[in-house]
């Protein structure tokens, strides 16, 4: 069930916690390793750099098909790959301003965990 892997990533997934360099103030997501990098929660604001509409859903995501996966340019600098939500394929466009929301990312079954993680939606 990989409980440990999911548990370790909870801060990154739930609230977009990355890290910031203590002298250069560069922001990294996922968090960079090293003593000069301190935990830093990103604003969740960004824009869609590019996206793909997924019609062949991965296992367990049939109900969501088609869904949209995007590369989001975060306002602090990092780019991340994430699912878009609350938007349909004909509404999404490159450059669209988006914000982070925490949503159900997966369900590992009736005797497993519900997984929550960041997704992005058009700014409300």
């Amino acid at each position: 069930m990989e409980l440990a892997r999911h548990w370790r990533q909870r801060n990154a997934r739930y609230r977009l916690e990355g890290s910031r360099h203590s002298t250069t103030h560069a922001v990294a997501f996922p968090a960079a390793q090293g003593s000069e990098w301190l935990p830093y929660t990103l604003s969740g604001r960004g824009s869609v750099l590019t996206y793909a509409v997924v019609h062949q859903a991965s296992t367990g995501h049939d109900a969501e098909s088609p869904y949209i996966v995007a590369i989001v340019q975060l306002s602090e600098g990092p780019r991340i790959t994430a699912q878009l939500t609350d938007v349909s394929a004909n509404e999404v466009e490159m450059g669209m301003q988006v914000e982070m929301v925490t949503r159900l990312m997966g369900d590992t079954g009736p005797d497993g965990l519900l997984l929550y993680a960041y997704k992005f939606r058009p700014v409300l």
Partner: protein, 348 residues
């Protein structure tokens, strides 16, 4: 009831999912379109939404309005009858995501549709006693109705959060509250059953009307107030009609009810319903306005509150999306998509 130390709401936040299903679409499937419907439409959670995700967004909005550091919260309490886990608190996940852990009290409350206001009253005690400065109380539900059942027309989804804090920092001071509870078999769900059952003849008069009326009237009597002393009133809204009927019985006007009456367009958001109506009312309220809010939970009981809006509302309400922003992003879905998203299809 009121604590020795005056308390109020220092922040509030709403959340309603984007999707709606028209009640007429449900009646098309089950009654060939015949018969009246209790609401125009109800909100439906998207396939990636549940009580935890909705509580989190409402909670984030409340924290933003309060202008406090989430770490200043001493408790994160979530009232719901649709917590995603039977055992594992929704509160721990929401608290972790808000960045409040580890020194925080979390608990899940359950009292049908008034679990959220139960958390609110408990928060009044916590802050009022001086044990805490800020308590986040949330009501949230993704309500379930058996396909074809009368409840399916209204069982909706939404969340509403309030942060209880010192009166002097509040957007609305809570002047007084009262809780009225009795054992009524109007609506219940046994453990491990997917859908609730309603005890038909109990739904109206001995349950909702009697409890909401009694709590509201007792609170007004205690404070020596009449309906004319209030700017607005918000009642739990299992459909569009019940709150309007109870308002009339108590002597409140349709104008007092209007800003917080949301059930017609989003259905019954259960634990969120009364608090969501309060959020929508605070969105348009002016300093000095007086609001009555009475929740109702099957089983059954009602919590009534008298709130007085302060000057702080002016600067604080624009710090998070207004309730209307959520209400206006209506994306209609049909019964087939609704059945797919709400796990009503047997996949074999």
């Amino acid at each position: 009831m009121k604590p020795n130390r005056p308390v109020g709401l220092v922040g509030y936040g709403a959340y309603v999912p984007r999707y709606r299903i028209a009640a007429k679409e449900i009646s098309r499937v089950w009654t060939d379109g015949h018969g009246g419907v209790p609401v125009v439409a109800k909100s439906v959670p998207g396939p990636d939404e549940d009580v935890i995700t909705m509580s989190l967004e409402a909670g984030r909005n409340a924290v933003a309005r309060a202008g406090i550091n989430a770490n200043d919260l001493s408790a994160v309490w979530i009232g719901s009858e649709s917590h995603p886990y039977s055992v594992k608190p929704s509160g721990t996940i929401v608290a972790e995501a808000l960045g409040v852990t580890p020194f925080v009290s979390t608990a899940d409350f359950e009292f049908a549709c008034k679990a959220g206001t139960e958390a609110m009253t408990a928060g009044m005690g916590m802050v009022g006693s001086g044990m805490a400065n800020y308590v986040l109380a949330i009501g949230a539900d993704t309500a379930q109705g058996r396909p074809g059942d009368a409840l399916e027309y209204t069982a909706a989804a939404g969340a509403a959060a309030v942060i209880i804090g010192p009166a002097e920092e509040s957007v609305a001071v809570i002047e007084e509250t009262i809780s009225y509870v009795s054992d009524v078999p109007d609506f219940f769900r046994r453990a491990d059953r997917p859908y609730p059952v309603h005890g038909n003849r109990f739904t109206g008069e001995p349950a909702y009307f009697q409890q909401v009326r009694s709590a509201s009237a007792a609170l007004l009597a205690k404070l020596g107030m009449t309906p004319q002393d209030f700017t607005y009133a918000v009642f739990h809204q299992p459909n569009a009609r019940f709150p309007q009927v109870v308002a009339k019985q108590l002597g409140f006007t349709p104008d007092q009810l209007a800003p917080g009456l949301l059930a017609g367009s989003i259905g019954n958001t259960y634990s969120a319903a009364a608090i969501l109506g309060l959020c929508a009312t605070l969105d348009i309220a002016n300093p000095g306005d007086v609001i009555l809010m009475t929740s109702y939970g099957s089983g059954s009981g009602a919590d009534a509150y008298v709130l007085r809006v302060t000057e702080a509302i002016i600067a604080r309400r624009s710090r998070a999306p207004l309730t209307e922003r959520y209400l206006s992003r209506e994306t209609m879905i049909d019964y087939a998509v609704y059945a797919k998203w709400r796990n009503k299809l047997v996949m074999g």
